[in-house]
Every structure is written in C-alpha cells, then in structure tokens.
C-alpha cells in the first residue's frame, strides 16, 4: 500500500504519475527522450539495460523488471541473459563498450562524484561518443529519481515477472508518451 492515497490502483510509477499528472507528463517526456527516441546511437535495448541495471542496484523491484523486460524485448533474449547482466555484467556476453558504459552507470548510481576520468577514457577508447556518455550518465541519474519516487512512496508492484514481459511489446510500440501510459 502506498504511503499516500493515490486515488488509483495502478502499479509502480504509474500510480503517482496519474495522481499528479503535471509532473507525470514531464517524467514521461524525459523517459521518451532518453529511452525510446530513435535519434540515438545507443540502441533502445542498451538504454533500457542501463535503466534496468541501475534499478537493480537501487533494489527497485518495479523499475528493474519493467526495464529488464524492455531490454529483453529489444535484445530478443531470454530472462536469464538480463539477470546475468544485472548480477555480473563483466562476465556477460555483451560488448566491451557496453560494459564500460555500465561501469559509468554503476558509479553514477553510487553518487555522481564516483565517476572517474579513467572510466570515461576507457569508454571513449572503446568507441563511446560524448553524447553516448552523456546519455549513460543521465539515464543512470534519471533512474536514481524514478526508483526513489516509486519506493519512497511505497507503491505496489506485481510480483509475477511474466506481467512485465507481457507488457513490454506494447510499451516498445507506443513509447512513454502520455497516450502510451493510458493503456
């Protein structure tokens, strides 16, 4: 049960987004620009994976499974592939460049000052552009907000992970625009 009366029974962030639609719409605009907008050299799968990883580090059940399922959808992988990245991305079968970006995201999750010059140089050496580094930092920072909004209000989350997997294709099709969240 959420700490406050959200006047709806939607799970996770959708509850407070409907409760307070003016900030809800802005948060959706941010998610759309960061995660769904096609004008980005980072794939949608990689951007969702960064969100899922940070949410897992923040122990946010709702966000890590929503965005883990989104990454799984874009990667066309199974659930264990996503879980293995969250558990130990260094050992996962992903590009060295994505590993370097997840390293930066992990530092941002702990606090912005944890990002080091070495981490940035390593990512650049592996081909990351300034904008890709920017987006990695901002996606990680944004999930430090989304996760705190979801858990700081004690919103509820479906336990069954299949629920998240089943919703992912629709969200991938519609994006995070306000219209998309009415479904």
């Amino acid at each position: 049960m959420a700490w406050i009366d959200l006047q709806n029974d939607l799970p996770g962030i959708r509850g407070p987004m409907i409760y307070r639609p003016d900030t809800g719409a802005i948060l959706n605009d941010l998610a759309e620009a960061l995660l769904h907008d096609e004008n980005n050299s980072l794939s949608r799968g990689d951007r969702e994976m960064i969100g899922a990883y940070v949410s897992s580090e923040n122990d946010c059940y709702f966000c890590q499974h929503v965005h883990g399922a989104m990454a799984q959808h874009y990667y066309q992988s199974d659930t264990s592939f996503i879980d293995n990245i969250k558990k130990d991305f260094h050992a996962a079968d992903i590009s060295e460049k994505l590993k370097s970006l997840l390293t930066i995201a992990g530092s941002v999750q702990k606090g912005g000052k944890n990002v080091t010059q070495d981490q940035i140089e390593n990512a650049k050496k592996l081909g990351a552009t300034d904008r890709e580094i920017h987006d990695t930092v901002l996606i990680a920072a944004a999930f430090c907000m989304f996760n705190r909004y979801v858990d700081g209000l004690n919103t509820w989350a479906p336990e069954d992970r299949q629920v998240y997997i089943d919703r992912a294709p629709m969200r991938a099709r519609d994006g995070y625009s306000q219209a998309g969240l009415k479904n």
């Binding site: 700490w3 003016d22 923040n58 606090g111 000052k113 920017h134 930092v137 920072a141 700081g152 209000l153």
Partner: protein, 177 residues
Amino acid sequence: MAYIEVEEGVPGIRSLFNFRPETGKPLCNLAEVLLRGPSPLSSGERELIAAYVSHRNGCMFCMNSHAAAARCWHGDQKQIVDELLREQNAGSLSQKMKALLLIAGKVQNNGRSVTPDDIDAARNAGAADADIHDTVLIAAAFSLFNRYVDGLASYTPTGEAAYEEMGKRMCEKGYHI
C-alpha cells in the same frame, strides 16, 4: 573540465541542458513545476528541500544555487537556510518541515529507507498527501540533478557572489530555459 565537450564557462547543469536540449527541456520543466508550480509547500520550503538533498549528496553546484534561491525566498528569515545546511537543529523550522526534511533525507539515501513512522510523524505535524508526494519527488529529482551535474564533472563556479545572483534569478524568473 567536464568529461564531455560542453561550452566553456557555462556553469553546472546549464551547460548540460545546452549540450542536449531534447533532455534539457523536460528537466527544466520538471524543476519549474516542482519548485514553483502549484503545491501546498511554499517555493521557499521546496528550495530548502532541494538544497538539503544536494548538501547530503555533496553536490556543491546544486547546493549553493538552491540555497541561494531559498535565501532569496526566505528574505529576513534567510538564516534558516544556513542553520539547516550546517546540520544545526534549525529552531525556526516548523515541525512539519522538520518531518518532511527527514523524509527527504531518507529518500536521498534510497526510497526504501522511508518508514511508516516517518510518514506518521509528518502527518501528526500536519503534512497532507500532497506535501508528502512533493517532498518525495523533489528529493528524488535532486538525486537525479546532483548525479547529472557531478557525474559529468560539469563546471562548478566558486565564490558566493556567483550563486547569489543565480539564486536571485531562480527565485524571480524560474527555470525555463
């Protein structure tokens, strides 16, 4: 020097908004609505929450600029801002603000740190649902802003004068780009 190539001399988050306006716009809109839009909390109280969370995250740019905005809103009560940021038990803060700042501090750590007792204490001090909602979202949003500014090592001006002017502008004109 910032980790990415942004315009020289443009301070903090503004240089990042210019670098990537597609995300800058919703972030500015968020600050404007959260800190200056409709809320049972005054803008001065909301800037205080923003400065407090930034202080706890050690983000000098956000802490100094939002403390300056909070001082501007508080006028002749502005010592309250410095008392809070020195972690003194700011005597002139209302019980309600004390309870809400405690919740904001928990959210800064992690959303799951907030307890039913924290919420009860805020309610007993007169906080309604909308006060609690706005406190949690402001604290969460500054968990973003602080990481964005420091995670890219953006330029942090030193010296109080720069921030005083910034705070005055934030208080009088707001956050639209």
